[in-house]
């Protein structure tokens, strides 16, 4: 589970890429393609293993004022539960 000090980053087998055909960011794994919406893409783009969860939330809240921190947290926990995100503790 995420903690404010978690420094999430994509698991080694996961790639974030921009798909020209669909004009969307996508998460690529061996078995699945996850098409991200703009907010999802913005969150994943900040999951660099350097920023903490608290920093990610602080950075995004002003940009997307309808996306509360707990929603970001839920999204990241979902990615972590399916093995797509590593949540190393800071």
């Amino acid at each position: 589970m995420t903690e404010p000090g978690s420094r999430p980053k994509l698991a080694p087998h996961v790639r974030l890429s921009f798909d020209q055909t669909r004009q969307r960011y996508v998460l690529l794994t061996p078995e699945a393609v996850t098409v991200l919406n703009d907010t999802g893409a913005a969150v994943v783009n900040l999951c660099d293993g350097q920023r903490t969860l608290a920093e990610i939330v602080a950075e995004l809240e002003p940009r997307y004022n309808r996306v509360p921190g707990e929603e970001i947290e839920r999204f990241l926990n979902q990615l972590a539960a399916t093995g797509r995100l590593d949540l190393s503790r800071g």
């Binding site: 698991a11 080694p12 087998h13 790639r15 890429s17 798909d19 055909t21 669909r22 996508v26 690529l28 794994t29 061996p30 078995e31 393609v33 972590a80 399916t82 093995g83 590593d86 949540l87």
Partner: protein
């Protein structure tokens, strides 16, 4: 229309292993006229344009193609996520480094059991130690590693040992997938189908391992559909998310659709976009209009798409029937009879596994180095 996400490239049906659960077609000799390097590169260009994002390099054994590195490099340059599905036989350190440099994103290595004698017996050749060596090398090159294990009556009781081995090898993921009964596996079904007691034990082991390894190793466990109440949503729907190109250039909605009597579509005659959008083979079972009852009026028709067309064909002779795995199918007794038989005590000597044979020697690609 939806655009496909994934392309399964079955580069060759040549394979050093002879696994009796292989889903390759029975008439392997029909596929000897393999696409050339240039033809594969053109297929990849067309696939990317069509919206494909993942490329699964498989076979047979894809390492038997000398142009694998070139195909991989081209796919990487197009931005495709490249995934090698291999027995690991032929994955020398030189070859691995070449593929790493060519941008190969992910390696999946099959193992047949958790120890040499059984693994080699199932594979039909001494291969277990070489697989372990290759798996360690993959990790040393800092590649993500998935172990693929096809489960059946003869190895499902070894799941705990298989998981321990995966952990020791440092695998990032393990796929424990029960055999799907197509091709050679269909021929060997009665010798492969596990008993219910075996499945119950396996389920317990998997549940405990998932808890213990959470965050360290992802465990994918695919139940045998013969024991399910509803069919699998095969390929996420016919002609909806995936396509397969087989060694001779035929294009199929799934890797086992060879057997379904539908007009062929080949990359040698048409481009992929036409095949995806308009070919009879891709239109045949797309959407829900083709469905008979009980699928047509079923709440689950957009969840499982009527199950698997190939299984319907194999078990009933009609690809347009409901997948007999479904408990609502009028043909469900075919599946329950096989399950009943699998749960009757049978002397071990009755079990005869037919190894998948090696195909006839194939011609080398016409321009190996291109």
């Amino acid at each position: 229309m939806d655009r496909p996400f994934g392309l399964l490239a079955e580069l060759t049906y040549a394979c050093p292993l002879q696994c009796p659960y292989c889903s390759n077609p029975l008439d392997l000799s029909r596929y000897g006229d393999e696409l050339t390097t240039a033809e594969w590169l053109r297929v990849l260009d067309q696939a990317r344009e069509l919206g494909v994002l993942q490329l699964h390099l498989s076979g047979g054994e894809p390492l038997q193609r000398r142009d694998l590195t070139e195909i991989t490099r081209h796919a990487s340059e197009l931005g495709l996520y490249t995934n090698l599905i291999t027995s690991a036989l032929g994955l020398s350190s030189r070859r691995a480094e070449e593929l790493r440099a060519a941008g190969l994103a992910h390696v999946q290595i099959s193992i047949q059991a958790d120890e040499a004698a059984l693994s080699d017996r199932i594979a039909g050749t001494a291969s277990f130690q070489r697989k372990l060596t290759a798996a360690r090398m993959v990790k040393k090159l800092d590649w993500p590693l998935t172990l693929n294990v096809v489960l059946h009556r003869h190895n499902v009781d070894r799941i705990a040992g298989i998981l321990a081995l995966a952990e020791e090898l440092g695998a990032d993921r393990i796929e424990l997938a029960h055999t799907q009964y197509y091709g050679w596996a269909r021929r060997n079904r009665d010798a492969l189908l596990p008993g219910r007691d075996q499945l119950d034990r396996a389920q317990t082991v998997v549940r405990a391992a998932r808890e213990r390894l959470q965050g360290r190793m992802e465990i994918i466990y695919v139940l045998p559909d013969y024991y399910s109440r509803y069919p699998k949503p095969c390929m996420g729907g016919w002609g909806r998310r995936q396509l397969t190109v087989v060694p001779n250039g035929d294009v199929l909605p799934c890797p086992t659709a060879h057997q379904v009597p539908l007009p062929r579509a080949s990359v040698r005659e048409h481009d992929l976009a036409w095949i995806w959008d308009q070919s009879p083979v891709f239109q045949a079972f797309r959407g829900t209009d083709w469905m008979p009852d009980p699928c047509r009026s079923c709440d689950r028709r957009e969840l499982d798409f009527g199950g698997c067309r190939c299984q319907a064909f194999e078990l009933t002779g009609d690809a347009a029937r409901t997948d007999p795995v479904c408990q609502l199918s009028p043909d469900h007794q075919i599946v329950t009879a096989a399950v009943r038989e699998a749960n009757e005590p049978a002397p071990e000597s009755d079990v005869v596994l037919i190894p998948r044979p090696h195909p006839h020697p194939r011609p080398q690609p016409r321009h190996p180095g291109r």
